[in-house]
């Protein structure tokens, strides 16, 4: 071994005092790229727990779980997505599909956690709920602006042009074709959030699926499970389900009502019969129903299916209640309503027409001869406007007017009509008057946005050139040479201190008077319980003019059940149908003592 070999290692020591040739590696971690697909964040206020993320996940890494402090309510399941990071592959399809846009990714990509026996459970977390240090990061993958997996625009419905429909009672909405209905049905993510909002809890995602699969017989079976008036509801339902639709958050909801109509438009009465194949054996018990409206006939349908003999007593000459006598023909043609009614009658339900209980027949009589009674009589007593001149000829109620038109009586309204009120009856009266060739003015005490009528009815009335006078409080009506001089006090809206809705307050001296041929008052109506014998009326419980029932629609008298507008607060067809269904189940349970 030479001396050089021995000494050489020590030469490197001289390098110890020189500047190093390498760079120091920075110790801070590198941030992910701006659109990096890192850890998830969820805006839990925006998220409604529809489960689209879970559905699209390719690896089954997402669960929907209840979260403390988030309530299940209309339009929100109360569930939130929880992700298993042992399975997630960061494909970001969950972000791309998220209909509310609440779920996103950050550019954070390191997550170190001390291991213990439970370490498996740490990498399963609920974004936005569990505290994570990336929760407030701005950067990270977001759905590109112009990229959508879902279709957010409705398939357009063909509606008769304004000019054509203003003087016509022909149905104005044309209905979807097969191709249109299937495309509309295709937009549905089948989350089922809408089901809870529907008063009848109809199985909406399932019947939409049946449309997609072109199995209309199955669709009819699904509809009739909860609603024997689907043909009518497919036209006039208040469709609150559509307000709850998940697509409404970033676009337009599914046209659930029109899809229901599509099903019913495309099955004949014979097909309804063969699809449902309702079979039952009579159990010998008899039920009386008062009122052949949607509530009464819905109860009749489900009772008949349970084997009961059902007799319906109807004061008018035809069945359908408000669906026939309240809703104008251009929204619900009579033969379409009859299609629903005829199927119910085909099960052996009897209707005695022109029998007004309390007048043509005593309530006690029914009470004695039937095992149970269900009444769903609707609201037939118009509220008074409480103004001078209200009883003059030419001043009529909206209900009476719509009634006359249905019965083919010429209402003789003249050339100019004022309609007082802002509900659906007011809109129907205004638009019907328009179709009789009158100039129509709606007079309402609050603002347009306060009107209880469905938005589409207001919009369609405006399209048909109905004039709206708002913030107007009627004061008096004076008759002079066949003309009605109608005065109202203009008002301003005053905010309420207790947070209640703003109130119209008359501006002193600011009076407008205009002349009309006819004034239609449609400011609401109450139930007429004069058919009940005194002792029954005293026994039943009432609140705000409505009958109080339990969940099975049983009243304080165990033999009497009630439903429809005289019971529920929503006072629409679908709620009445649900009441009828629930009452049928309730009556069956009460009579079988289970």
């Amino acid at each position: 071994m030479s001396l050089k070999n021995f000494v050489a290692p020590f030469y490197v020591w001289k390098r110890a005092f020189e500047k190093p040739l390498t760079n120091t590696k920075p110790l801070e971690t590198r941030p992910g790229a701006a659109a990096y697909r890192g850890f998830h964040v969820n805006d839990i206020e925006k998220c409604i727990g529809c489960g689209s993320c879970e559905e699209i996940c390719q690896n089954m890494s997402i669960d929907l779980v209840p979260v403390d402090g988030i309530e299940t309510k209309d339009g929100d399941s109360g569930l939130r997505p929880r992700i298993d990071y042992g399975r997630c592959c960061w494909c970001a399809l969950c972000i791309d599909i998220c209909p509310t846009g609440s779920l996103n990714m950050t550019n954070e990509y390191t997550w170190l956690e001390e291991g213990d026996g439970d370490v498996d459970d740490k990498f399963i977390f609920t974004p936005g709920v569990d505290k994570k240090n990336w929760n407030n990061l701005e950067l990270g993958y977001k759905r590109p602006v112009d990229y959508e997996i879902l279709e957010y625009s409705k398939i357009k419905m063909t509606i008769m042009e304004t000019a054509e429909r203003s003087d016509s009672f022909i149905e104005m909405v044309k209905g979807y074709s097969k191709e249109e209905a299937e495309r509309e049905a295709d937009r549905c993510v089948a989350c089922g959030i809408c089901v809870a909002t529907c008063p009848a809890n109809m199985d909406i995602p399932e019947y939409i699926k049946a449309i997609r699969e072109d199995d209309l017989n199955e669709a009819v079976r699904l509809l009739y499970k909860t609603n024997p008036f689907s043909n009518s509801c497919g036209r006039i339902c208040t469709h609150r389900c559509e307000d709850a639709c998940v697509l409404e958050h970033r676009g337009e909801s599914i046209s659930i009502r029109w899809l229901k109509r599509y099903i019913m438009d495309n099955v004949s009465s014979e097909e309804i019969k063969s699809s449902l194949a309702d079979e039952f054996t009579k159990n010998g018990k008899k039920i009386a129903i008062i009122g052949a409206g949607p509530g009464g006939l819905s109860a009749a349908y489900y009772l008949a299916k349970l084997g009961y003999s059902v007799t319906v007593f109807e004061a008018k000459e035809k069945a359908g209640g408000m669906l026939r006598y309240g809703i104008p023909e251009y929204r619900l043609p009579y033969d379409e309503l009859d299609k629903d009614i005829n199927y119910i009658l085909s099960l052996g339900v009897k209707i005695e027409y022109n029998i007004r209980i309390g007048k043509d027949k005593d309530f006690d009589d029914l009470y004695k001869h039937f095992d149970s009674i269900f009444f769903s009589i609707g609201l037939s007593k118009p509220y008074s406007m409480r103004v001078e001149g209200e009883t003059l000829p030419g001043v009529i109620s909206g209900l009476k007017f719509l009634d006359d038109v249905t019965m083919g009586i010429d209402p003789k309204i003249g050339k100019s009509v004022a309609v007082v009120g802002g509900g659906n009856v007011a809109m129907d009266a205004a638009r019907t008057s328009k179709r009789f060739g009158a100039d129509v003015t709606v007079v309402y005490r609050r603002r347009l946005e306060d009107m209880p009528a469905d938005l589409e009815e207001i919009v369609e009335a405006q399209e048909e050139n109905v004039e709206f006078v708002v913030k107007a409080i009627p004061t008096k009506i004076v008759e002079n040479k066949g003309k009605l001089y109608f005065s109202w006090n203009n008002a301003k809206m005053v905010e309420q201190k207790d947070g209640g809705r703003p109130k119209p307050v008359a501006i002193e001296g600011d009076i407008t008077t205009r002349t009309f041929d006819t004034i239609i008052s449609a400011i609401g109506q109450a139930g007429d319980f004069s058919f009940l014998p005194k002792e029954i009326e005293e026994k039943l419980k009432f609140k705000w003019g409505k009958v109080i029932t339990d969940k099975s629609r049983q009243t304080a008298d165990s033999k009497i059940f009630a439903g429809g507008d005289v019971v529920n607060a929503t006072a629409d067809a679908i709620s009445a149908i649900e009441d009828g269904h629930k009452a049928a189940i309730g009556i069956d349970r009460a009579l079988r003592k289970i």
Binding site: C50, I62, G86
Partner: protein, 177 residues
């Protein structure tokens, strides 16, 4: 200075172009026949100054029984990108190797071989593992690869997994019975 439009015009005249899409003024995609690809790439690199190969990738057109291969080139002189696309059969998935034109091509081709099962005969180390050591079964980027089935067979569910269906959950909590 050469423009991207001129370059595309030259390719059209010399080699023929099946389809052309002007995505942006500085980004054009052309589709050429499989047997013209190597000539087109050479021409673009040596004559049209598209000297940089940005990447090579493939797309699975399962329904049409085809793979599309895309070569993305960049021209530093006029700062434009040109994408050269071609279709190959999915059943007999092979493509002529371009490893002699750019050093990194061999790596891209090795990746495509692994991810899509497209062969590039003659490409160096093309049969070696790239990222998926010990992979069995169909290549994962093919669209008939069943992601869910693979993850079911390969990964466990973490402890405590359980889910709820929104419709049923809301029925339990909200419906008026």
């Amino acid at each position: 200075m050469k423009t991207i439009l001129n370059s595309v015009k030259n390719i059209e005249q010399i080699f023929g172009v099946l389809a052309k899409k002007i995505q942006r003024p500085d980004l054009i995609f052309i589709t050429v026949e499989k047997k013209q690809v190597l000539s087109v790439l050479s021409h673009l690199r040596d004559i049209e100054e598209y000297t940089h190969l940005v990447m090579i990738t493939a797309i699975d057109y399962l329904e049409q029984g085809k793979f599309q291969i895309l070569y993305l080139l960049h021209n530093y002189k006029n700062n434009t990108d040109l994408g050269v696309k071609t279709f190959i059969s999915r059943e007999d998935a092979h493509m002529y190797s371009a490893h002699h034109l750019w050093g990194q091509v061999a790596t891209y081709q090795r990746e495509l071989h692994e991810m899509f099962g497209i062969d590039f005969p003659g490409s160096p180390r093309v049969n070696e593992n790239f990222a998926l050591e010990g992979w069995e079964g169909i290549p994962p980027m093919r669209r008939d690869f069943d992601t869910l089935r693979y993850s079911q067979e390969t990964y466990n569910f973490r402890k405590g997994r359980a889910t709820n269906d929104p419709k049923k959950y809301m029925k339990k909590n909200l419906h008026k019975e």
